[in-house]
């Protein structure tokens, strides 16, 4: 098992290298010069060339990429050009090992941007994840239990509604009515645990996380229902009933366990991609998480931030895949090695 995880991690690192290289190449394949964005509107040719040099955009994409990788391994300093660093030693920014680059747009290292944004996105993701898993599985099982009856149709119908409505619509609805018009909630504004304690943290997360959870919950209701119904048709459930096992136990011990494998796969990957930021939800509620960071980075052609986001999200997904595979072995004895 240990060797397996090591092997998977190794492959994961190679995947990250390839993905970052592709991001670099794609970025420079476009007709726009990123230095122009960084330099600003009224920028002379000379200033633009200077900016380009400061950010290292004058080098070829592959060289820039190798600088980036070097930065991740050993750390680096900005501006990229040694001559410029010498000219203005006070403006040099030091970026230690793990360096993901320097964003001119926010005039800070990408790592620093992430340090502020990650807690926001992760908080929303965890909160939403807990809500949608509990709600989705619960309602899914109930729907499967009452298959074809009114309760089932109601649950599936409502799920369809929430699945069909875009998150920004539901998010706006909550914001406009629940928070602003009816004042049931205060307009949420992210507050870290350090700032306002766990209560304020949770309170502010409730609306955005619920908005996000509703969408996922809708999908999970339908999936859980389908998986449970599918496993209900298995021979081993008939065996369990033939033994005289109580129906509720048949459902929760035997059927749900079998439905768990596909659910864990989905949940792991959905959670991982959500860790990389919920773009729409964060934008609607104006939370400065990774999703909002991504929107800003795309609009301002901010390569270092974009590459950093790609790497971050890819890391989450790769790790989630490994975790899901390990969980398989926990759930399904047939997958266990040896």
């Amino acid at each position: 098992m240990f060797a397996y995880v090591i092997r998977r991690l190794f492959v994961g690192v190679i995947m990250l290298l390839v993905m970052s290289l592709v991001t670099f190449l794609l970025f420079f394949a476009g007709p726009l010069d990123p230095a122009r964005f960084a330099c600003g509107k009224n920028c002379s040719e000379a200033q633009q060339a200077q900016t380009s040099k400061a950010l290292g955009f004058d080098k070829s994409p592959v060289v820039q990429w190798s600088d980036f990788v070097k930065g991740v391994v050993t750390g680096r300093q900005f501006p990229d050009d040694p001559a410029l660093r010498k000219a203005a030693p006070k403006l040099v920014t030091d970026c230690p090992t793990g360096c993901l680059g320097y964003s001119v747009v926010s005039t800070s290292t990408v790592n620093k941007e992430f340090k502020e944004a990650i807690p926001v996105s992760v908080s929303i993701a965890i909160f939403a994840f807990i809500m949608w898993i509990i709600g989705g599985v619960l309602f899914g099982v109930i729907a499967a239990l009452f298959k074809g009856r009114l309760l089932d149709r109601g649950i599936v119908g409502i799920a369809l509604v929430f699945f069909a409505f875009p998150t920004f619509f539901i998010g706006q609805l909550f914001l406009q009515f629940v928070a602003i018009k009816w004042r049931v909630f205060e307009v949420p504004d992210y507050m870290s645990i350090a700032e306002g304690g766990i209560g304020a943290w949770a309170y502010n997360l409730l609306l955005p996380a619920f908005t996000l959870a509703l969408f996922y919950m809708a999908g999970y209701v339908r999936m859980t229902r389908a998986f449970v119904l599918e496993s209900m048709g298995e021979d081993y459930l008939r065996t369990a009933r033939a033994k005289g096992v109580r129906q509720s136990r048949v459902l929760f011990k035997h059927a749900l366990r079998a439905a768990l494998t596909p659910l864990v796969t989905m949940a792991g990957l959905d959670f991982a991609s959500l860790l990389g930021g919920a773009i729409i939800t964060e934008t609607v509620f104006n939370f400065n998480g990774l999703g909002k960071l991504a929107v800003v980075a795309v609009n301002t052609y901010d390569l270092p931030t974009l590459v950093g986001l790609v790497i971050l999200l890819a890391t989450f997904v790769i790790l989630a895949n490994i975790v899901v595979d390990i969980l398989y072995a926990v759930i399904d004895p047939r997958v266990r090695v040896g």
Partner: protein
């Protein structure tokens, strides 16, 4: 009611003597499934009886209603859309009149079932011991440890080597034969009076089949249980069954003591089944003799005798009786409680004069003409 006569086959069976109702008595059992296309009559008026310590073989093609009938005895149809009527008396109690909860408490304790494919019939995520112990804990107030000890004891009894170690294995770590042994252990752990074995050897290879059948017979002697064995293998019937019930299109077409059914069958469908058995002593060039045609649709079964479209002896029946009238179950010539459902005036004679010589010819490997229509 139905056109069949349950009265005749009612409670028949060797054990049904002066004592009246036998241990298991099924009377005019009907299991119908309403579907958008019409009612599927999976079982349509089935009656038989069985004493403890005896074995009944139910034979028939796929879709003849064998498995549906047996899972109805176990009450597994409950919660589905099946419409069930008739009577299933087990030790004097009508199982169909019980509440779901009462039936659940009998399931696995008084009547239990062994399924066809033990790999898919066992939960892949739980250990064999866990699943066997669960069957015990459902009906006995014991703790985990006691149930586990009992599971090990049962595994040992069904011939699993090193049961105290194998108890913690998962089903996929067992071989096919061991899995079926474990299923048998699960089925018998509460010492049920009735054991239904639904094609218990179909998924196993031949040498293992024999072991499993031996095991079932041994355990039957030990626990004195009644066994209903569902199969399409006449070899299994010959080895295991005291009585045989041949099913076709949801109905019983022939029923009687095994010896009489195998030596003096009086129904063309049974003849077909017997003729289609390959003979190990015969010529290797001999071809198998299939029953022509396909099993009938239970949604829209043929009129009259359901077997008539495939019956090669139809022209011996006067008029068009076969296509219009369902034959009653009538006593066969060989006596006992042997009954059959056929319009032929003297099926025993037809069997002796026509079917037997033909079968002997087939076995010696004489060139057979293509008889497909």
């Amino acid at each position: 009611m139905s056109s069949s006569t349950p009265t005749l086959a009612q409670g028949v069976g060797t054990g049904a003597g002066a004592s009246g109702t036998p241990f298991l008595s099924v009377r005019d059992l009907k299991v119908h499934f309403p579907t958008p296309d019409g009612v599927v009559k999976a079982t349509d008026g089935l009656s038989f009886g069985l004493e403890r310590g005896r074995t009944l073989g139910i034979v028939g093609e796929s879709g003849s209603g064998k498995s549906v009938s047996s899972s109805t005895i176990l009450g597994l149809h409950r919660g589905s859309r099946a419409m069930v009527s008739g009577e299933i008396l087990l030790d004097g109690t009508d199982l169909l009149s019980l509440s779901d909860e009462e039936m659940r408490l009998r399931r696995g304790r008084e009547v239990s079932m062994i399924f066809q494919d033990p790999l898919s019939a066992m939960h892949p995520y739980y250990t064999v011991g866990n699943q066997i112990a669960e069957a015990y804990r459902v009906h006995n107030d014991v703790n985990r440890k006691q149930a586990r000890a009992r599971a090990i004891e049962m595994l040992d009894r069904v011939g699993i080597p090193q049961p105290d170690r194998r108890v913690d294995d998962y089903p996929h770590q067992y071989s096919g034969g061991m899995r079926q042994r474990a299923m048998i252990a699960m089925g018998l752990i509460n010492d049920p009076g009735l054991l239904i074995a639904d094609e218990p050897t179909t998924a196993l290879d031949v040498t293992v089949q024999a072991q499993i059948l031996d095991l079932l017979q041994d355990l039957q002697k030990e626990f004195n249980s009644a066994i209903v064995i569902i199969t399409h293998d006449l070899g299994v019937v010959a080895e295991m069954a005291d009585e045989v019930l041949v099913m076709y299109a949801g109905r019983c077409v022939e029923y009687g003591p095994t010896k009489q059914i195998l030596t003096n069958p009086e129904m063309p469908y049974t003849w077909g089944l017997l003729s289609s058995v390959p003979d190990v002593t015969g010529d290797t060039d001999a071809r198998l003799v299939p029953i022509p045609g396909n099993p009938p649709s239970l949604l829209n079964p043929p009129t009259g005798c359901a077997f008539h479209p495939r019956c090669t002896y139809r022209d011996k029946v006067p008029g068009s009786l076969c296509t219009t009238d369902l034959p009653e179950l009538t006593p066969a010539k060989s006596g006992g409680f042997h009954v059959r459902r056929c319009h032929l005036p003297d099926p025993a004679a037809v069997y002796a004069e026509e079917v037997v010589p033909e079968m002997q010819a087939d076995m010696t490997g004489e060139p057979i003409e293509e008889t497909e229509k």
